[in-house]
């Protein structure tokens, strides 16, 4: 592995100061499951690694009405925090499929977002839940939607010397269900070829969709929301034919990529299939009453 200086700031201010001081030569260490692999392969060569693990207040997820996820919350702790809430099943399913148990015990939600991999598995379900990000930087704190934060492979809209501190999920509307599905070459511990997350929030009649979210991972350079497909569901009764129509729309609206894992054509087929299944699953969970 490449050699580096190791820094262990004890406050966010210290972390930000180190990021200002070392600029592009600095890398933040969260779970390390991506950073260490990149450094071993020589793909990243930071001269200064800044560990966030001595900064208090960044670990752990608290579920009340909404969900507050510290950026250093490990994936297995997130899974535990959302386990009993049907409206967050999509998050749980994504957490269970992110690497093996050992990786889930190291990798963090904040790291998964900031690494900005095309297949970042926590991002599609968080997009479906309208997650907001809290960041602290030289100019203080700001909040920004997760939607739009990822701007390319390994690229985010994070500003110089900023640290992601928290991911906030607002309370889910009543009768909400979510789901996450992904296709890999293996059945576990593999990068997604395509992943789809969905949220359906139903009206009091238990059939009409008042709010829909569909997000895709690994299909394009970044996870993204299939807004036109969402629009086909909003205000409509959730019926198989309508869900199929939305899935077709998601397929047509997806600028899929070809890479070592699959061709763009194959990805488009997966988009259609996974969107249909994820929406139906989310709707079924919503119809069972969501969290109530």
């Amino acid at each position: 592995m490449i050699r580096f200086e190791y820094h262990q700031p004890r406050t966010l201010d210290e972390a930000v100061a180190l990021l200002i001081q070392y600029g592009d030569a600095a890398a933040l260490l969260a779970g390390g499951t991506a950073l260490l692999v990149d450094m071993k392969h020589g793909e990243r060569r930071p001269g200064h690694v800044i560990s966030l693990w001595r900064v208090p207040g960044l670990e752990g997820a608290q579920a009340n009405g909404g969900l507050r996820i510290g950026a250093l919350t490990i994936i297995s702790d997130l899974a535990e925090a959302v386990a009993d809430r049907p409206s967050w099943n999509g998050l749980l399913e994504a957490a269970w499929m992110l690497g093996g148990r050992q990786v889930q015990n190291m990798a963090t939600v904040g790291g998964n977002i900031c690494k900005a991999s095309p297949g970042a598995d926590m991002v599609p379900p968080l997009l479906c839940l309208d997650a907001q990000l809290r960041l602290v930087g030289p100019d203080g704190e700001r909040t920004t939607p997760l939607d739009g934060f990822l701007t390319g492979p390994d690229q985010t809209a994070i500003r110089p010397a900023e640290v992601l501190t928290e991911i906030d999920v607002p309370p889910a509307p009543p009768r909400t269900g979510t789901a996450f599905l992904k296709v890999m070459r293996r059945h576990a511990v593999d990068c997604s070829i395509v992943a789809a997350a969905a949220r359906v929030s139903l009206a009091g009649d238990g059939q009409t969709c008042v709010e829909a979210r569909i997000a895709l991972g690994a299909a394009a350079p970044n996870p993204f929301r299939a807004r036109q497909a969402e629009d086909l569901l909003t205000g409509q009764k959730i019926e198989p034919s309508r869900v199929r129509e939305a899935a077709r729309q998601a397929r047509e609206g997806s600028g899929t990529i070809s890479d070592v894992r699959a061709s763009a054509d194959y990805r488009r087929m997966l988009v259609e299939t996974l969107v249909e299944r994820a929406v139906l699953k989310a709707a079924e969970r919503a119809a069972r009453g969501g969290d109530r």
């Binding site: 200086e5 190791y6 269970w96 050992q102 190291m106 576990a188």
Partner: protein, 159 residues
């Protein structure tokens, strides 16, 4: 690069040492402490051969910087047996032939022991998820699962 002082509790024993920040827990366990039961293989968190427990949780020691392990409790395959008695999972691997070439075995056993410590009666699905990060390239999964089922059953009868 400067060395950093760290304190590790490995298998109940305290170690004070100085390590360079780029060294992984795996390297320090194997090279400095001669605990070679933990295996080095894929080096990128895919195979699970390097699994150890850090504060009771299974992790890939190949992706865990030794400096991050400062002040933590590490359990390796060497620490599972106590007072001359093998861990029940180790016993079951022997009895049910959960070992072929043996390279993945320490990782599997540590992963399983970590699971059983918190979930003594896991469902089949829980077992699968807990072991998904361990690969047996001999594909000896059937006997590994038989061994683990037996260990779980033995634990149930004992309580």
């Amino acid at each position: 690069m400067s060395q950093l002082p760290i304190q590790l509790n490995v298998n109940g024993q305290e170690y004070f040492m100085e390590v360079e920040p780029h060294r992984t827990l795996l390297e320090v366990l194997r090279e400095d402490l001669a605990l070679t039961g933990t295996k080095s293989n894929c080096q990128e968190g895919e195979c699970g051969a390097c699994t150890v427990m850090v504060d009771d949780r299974a992790v890939n020691s190949c992706l865990f910087l030794a400096v991050r392990a400062h002040g933590k409790r590490i359990m390796t395959i060497e620490g599972l047996a106590g007072q001359g008695k093998l861990h029940p999972v180790q016993e079951a691997f022997i009895r049910y032939g959960g070992v072929q070439c043996g390279y993945c075995t320490p990782g599997f056993i540590v992963s399983a022991a970590a699971l059983l410590a918190t979930h003594p009666r896991p469902t089949g699905e829980e077992l699968t998820r807990a072991l998904a990060g361990n690969i047996c390239r001999c594909t000896g999964y059937v006997n590994i699962r038989r061994a683990l089922r037996a260990a779980i059953e033995a634990g149930r009868n004992a309580t």
